[in-house]
């Protein structure tokens, strides 16, 4: 009888087909978002005065808090992946739960920000800047929600002690992508003048 044993390693030598596939998916997502970013910048340069004026109505503090929350969540999922590789599944599970909690905090913060802007009369139809603002942040939140699905599968696999599962590795890669796409959105919407 063959016994299959799992020996956790902190640095796996080679990526599996599934994880490589996840990376390919990430690159497609990056290309798609790049198109959004480039079109945003082209529109911005078409009417810089309107964009610059509209930008002053955003709350940079919301942008800062959003970014810090997502960076913290990325940190937690990175820790979770390493904990799982070391065979510490209880710790990995708690860190993954914390990742999801921070993701929820991001969504709540984003909903609050949208409510804040809409209450002051700034909507999708106000001007091109706000159309891009709601589109870019909205499509990003959709990706955060999809990240919850990936993390949900990872949490289930951790709970089941499925030591051969790569769900957490894949969820981690996806979650980091959601993080760095937000970093670009934050810079374009809140910082670049």
């Amino acid at each position: 009888m063959t016994t299959i044993t799992f020996s956790p390693a902190s640095e796996p030598a080679e990526l599996s087909d599934k994880v490589s596939g996840a990376w390919a998916f990430i690159l497609i997502e990056c290309a798609t978002f790049s198109a959004y970013f480039i079109v945003y910048m082209l529109y911005r340069m078409h009417d810089p005065a309107t964009f610059a004026e509209a930008q002053t109505h955003l709350s940079p503090t919301f942008g800062l808090v959003n970014t810090l929350i997502l960076l913290a969540s990325s940190w937690q999922v990175a820790r979770s992946v390493h904990s799982a590789r070391a065979g510490r599944y209880d710790v990995a599970w708690r860190q993954a739960v914390l990742t999801v909690a921070l993701g929820l905090a991001f969504v709540v913060s984003k909903l609050s920000e949208w409510g804040f802007e809409i209450q002051r009369g700034y909507t999708f139809e106000t001007n091109d800047f706000f159309a891009f603002y709601f589109f870019l942040t909205g499509i990003h939140v959709v990706h955060v929600l999809l990240g919850f699905v990936f993390m949900g599968v990872a949490l289930y696999k951790l709970h089941e002690r499925d030591v051969h599962s790569e769900a957490l590795e894949i969820a981690g890669i996806y979650w980091h992508m959601v993080d760095f796409l937000w970093v670009v959105i934050f810079t374009l919407l809140y910082v670049v003048r």
Partner: protein, 94 residues
Amino acid sequence: MSKAIEGHLFRVWLALSGITLLSYWLGSESAGGGALVSYAALLIVAIKVRVIASEFMEARRASKKLQLAMDAWLFVLLAALTAIYTFKLDMPAV
């Protein structure tokens, strides 16, 4: 997870959070706005994305082709954004 990895991830997170505060300051009125601030912000975002990709996503562990593709994507995106900003390229009329 070893203490070395734990410490490394903590330092990466701390550095990313710190550089985010710098971005926040650049976006504030006290930074004065202007093109220089925007170029600095674009440079910072390139560094942040590269750090997240290499240290958190572990792009270094990916195949060379994927790592190259990731770096190429970041370079092309930032080059395009910088060129549009510098040369004031705008949306063609439709």
